[in-house]
């Protein structure tokens, strides 16, 4: 109970009114709990990225190269020539302020430099100073300021307080996308070796071992075999996943986070059960890869080149194994990369077939070039054609709401597929208010590589608007389960809910699907994948469900 009171107290302290002092004259202080630790030199080195070194954001000396200003200047010039977005977004903002209170980090912290417009001004001011006649003539009056060490530190602090969720871009009359500005800002910082470790080390792991967690091939197999035992214990059915199997129909790629931590593990078991079901009933062969064992791509949070390096493994492995097409698991930014970058960066995927669901005959027209299908699209298609044997009452202990993850929402428009699946496997579904879902969805507060533990204060503040909307449906409808299609969500929403709405737990959609799925040869199920009792048909869900005690952050 004391946790709850503290969160209410934290809420009452938020003040969205900026101070009297202008932002250019307000020095940035790097606060504990609000930033992530610096990248380890070894991780930066593994990727051959520049200026790997030990450094500490809290120290005065960041051990920058002598000519750091020149590097940034050249980096900006180069990116202005390569990205029309950067140039236009620097030039046309009118500071109307429509974006100001759209950012979850601003709403949660009240820090004015978290208003999207000001986050962009941090770099726009330097752009004006160095690249425009206007800025050279009018200086500070025109919003220009020279690049100094303090400005650079401010960039670092605030570009790693943006989760690239693009909510502001939905409201901007010119479509200015702060994610794009942050992406380019982080690219520039990476030119000086200024990454955070929570991004750099997963990226380096992924590059060498195939996944962010650094799970080596034998260990990856071992972990999934653990799940095989767990599944057998719960369902009486022994599933048999295949790895690196040449000639399989489909390659399946999902974030490694789901192999690693609860409640993502249950989603992972869900995939395994579904693939077993499809193989037994329809003979479909889906294989996992240990080389391309990561769907997520923290390269997106480093630079477009690094993103391309990590993403290339999916096509390379699909080609080597000779599969027909690729199926992608539930993940947020992974799908931004697949939907908006993959074909451009690493295509054309002419060695794959245009994806067709062999069970239903459905052609996935929308994926005919990139040749990668979202597992929720795939499952929705199976359900629509009656190919899955489902008993939604097995989820009757749950009252479910759905968190649209930022990237599938605003980088794809992935709204109805997940809702369709959930409504077919659960009897109790409630949406959060309209301003908090679909294209207006709020970030979990930990996206874009900010899901470390040292910045927990930032994460809990940034996740406030999301949690507050969940709290609303919890109080109104008794919602006790928050479904999502993102591995970062599954990792970070439990502590967020634990802090703001402790009555609500978190799940992936495919955990719900396989709870409801009647598997051929299953024993009479008494517990679900989590080892919780399955409800009697007659019981009242309100009385039935008791959430297990929250075990702390």
């Amino acid at each position: 109970m004391s946790e709850r009171l503290k969160s209410d107290e934290d809420f009452s302290k938020i003040d969205l009114n900026p101070s009297k002092t202008g932002w250019m004259d307000t020095p940035t202080v790097i606060k504990d709990g609000m930033f992530c630790f610096a990248a380890k030199p070894q991780s930066v080195k593994t990727l051959d990225l520049p200026y790997s070194r030990e450094w500490n954001p809290k120290h005065d000396d960041w051990k920058l190269p002598e000519n750091w200003k020149e590097i940034i200047y050249e980096g900006m010039r180069d990116r202005l020539d390569r990205f029309r977005t950067f140039k236009i977004f620097m030039d046309i903002c009118v500071r109307c302020g429509a974006c100001a209170d759209k950012c979850h980090f601003f709403i949660g912290t009240g820090d004015p430099k978290n208003m999207p417009v000001l986050r962009a001004e941090l770099i726009r001011s330097v752009y004006k100073n160095d690249f425009t006649t206007f800025g050279k003539i009018f200086g500070k009056l025109g919003g220009a300021r020279p690049l100094t060490l303090d400005v650079l530190k401010e960039w670092w602090y605030y570009f790693f307080q943006c989760s690239e969720c693009r909510r502001c871009s939905v409201f901007c009359p010119y479509g200015i996308d702060t994610a794009e500005i942050t992406i380019i800002g982080r690219e520039l910082l990476n030119l000086l070796g200024l990454n955070i470790d929570w991004i750099a080390t997963p990226v380096s792991n992924c590059y060498m071992t195939g996944n962010h967690m650094g799970i080596q091939p034998h260990a990856f197999v071992g972990m999934l075999e653990f799940f095989v035992d767990d599944i057998e214990e719960c369902t009486g059915v022994r599933v048999n996943p295949t790895f690196n199997k040449k000639g399989a129909d489909i390659l399946f790629v999902t974030p490694s986070g789901d192999v690693f931590g609860d409640p993502g593990t249950y989603t992972c078991m869900g995939y395994m059960i579904l693939f077993h079901y499809l193989k037994e009933k329809y003979g479909l062969e889906v294989t996992w890869s240990t080389y391309a064992s990561e769907g997520g791509n923290f390269g997106l949070f480093t630079s477009n080149e690094v993103m391309k390096r990590l993403n290339s493994k999916m096509y390379a492995e699909a080609k080597r194994l000779g599969v027909k097409w690729i199926l992608g698991g539930e993940c947020g930014h992974m799908w931004r990369v697949i939907n908006q970058y993959m074909g451009t960066m690493n295509g054309p995927a002419d060695f794959l077939e245009e994806p067709v669901n062999p069970i239903t005959g459905t052609k996935f027209e929308n994926a005919k070039s990139t040749k990668m299908v979202h597992i929720v699209e795939f499952t929705a298609d199976l359900i629509k054609h009656g190919k899955l044997d489902l008993d939604p009452s097995r989820n009757d202990n749950l009252k479910v709401t759905f968190h649209d993850s930022c990237n599938p929402a605003r980088g794809m428009g992935f709204f109805e597929e997940p809702r369709y699946v959930i409504k077919n496997v659960c009897n109790n579904y409630y949406d959060m208010p309209r301003n908090c879902i679909k294209e207006q969805t709020f970030c979990c507060g930990s996206g874009s590589g900010l899901n470390a533990s040292e910045d927990m204060e930032l994460r809990l503040a940034g996740g406030l608007p999301r949690a507050n909307a969940v709290k609303y449906v919890n109080e109104k409808h008794g919602v006790n389960m928050l479904a999502c299609i993102c591995a970062i969500d599954r990792a970070v929403l439990p502590p967020l809910m634990g802090y703001w709405v402790p009555e609500v737990d978190v799940t992936g959609i495919h955990e719900l699907v396989t709870n409801a799925l009647i598997i051929p040869g299953e024993k009479e199920k008494t517990v679900n994948l989590r080892g919780e009792d399955i409800p009697d048909k007659e019981s009242d869900p309100d009385e039935y469900y008791v959430r297990p005690a929250f075990s702390g952050r």
Partner: protein
Amino acid sequence: MNVNYMFSLLAVVVLILLAYVGVEGAGLQVLFGVIIPYIAVFIFIAGFVYRVMDWVRSPVPFRIPSTCGQQKSLPWIKENKIDNPSTAGGVIVRMIFEILFFRSLFRNTSCRLNEGAKITYVWEKWLWLAALAFHYSFLTVLIRHLRFFLEPVPVCLQLLEKVDSFFQLGLPGLFLSGVVLLAAVIFLFLRRIYIPQVRYISLASDFFPLFLIISIAITGIFMRYFTKVDIVGIKEFAMGLVTLHPTIPDGLGGLFYVHLFLVSVLFVYFPFSKLMHMGGVFLSPTRNLPNNNRAERHINPWNPSVKLHTYQEYEDDFREKMIEAGLPVEKES
């Protein structure tokens, strides 16, 4: 006292005085009436074209529309063809909605933190309304002014004037557009002062065009309804400018030259400033591209070649462990 808007206000006052004294005191009618307007129009056109060409020179490496509606996926799921277009036609409609009706701004909400740890979001239509009122009344005023530059005045212009002066309040008829323009621009100024977040982000260069346009509107309204300038003289002057035979009729008065000078300043200021959003809104890659990237490959002209960690290298790193775990390998040793 806010330095940003005081400075801009002062700048506009100085500009007004400059033109007034220049004409009334020093007799510089030719400078303010002919030379500066010609230069201003040239800078406006050349600057505008240069800026747009400069944007177009940079490629669009990735197709990254902000998707604000359901994607096109399975045939039985209804796609939102406008807010998440999958075709060029959809993009055109989306852009029309953005440019003519300010679609995105229409979504605007205002966030409030309430007692009892509750956040609410209220539809905020005033910025959208004021922005629409401002831009459309400005456009109407601009088009109305064409009657000074065209002989004979086209029928459509006469019609526009009729509609615009729908409310007959004595003579000359009151133009609605002028009043709405002034009211809207004053609203836009006041929200910059009174909304704390907007005040915080506003620069001197945000206030300057507002004061400039307020002054242009006021001088215009003054000339039409109060000082009753010599319309025939102004028409003769304007026709001289467009036919490249500039003449300076007598008796146009200092106020007219102030009005003209402020418009010239606006023209010169335009291509160098945020006012270029007029051109930029057409080119914004988050709005003017379809979300069909998985169906049709987008080409990045500078797609970099990058260093990869290939499967072969990976297998070399882990071969023994892979064999031990029963994983198939390409090479046994």
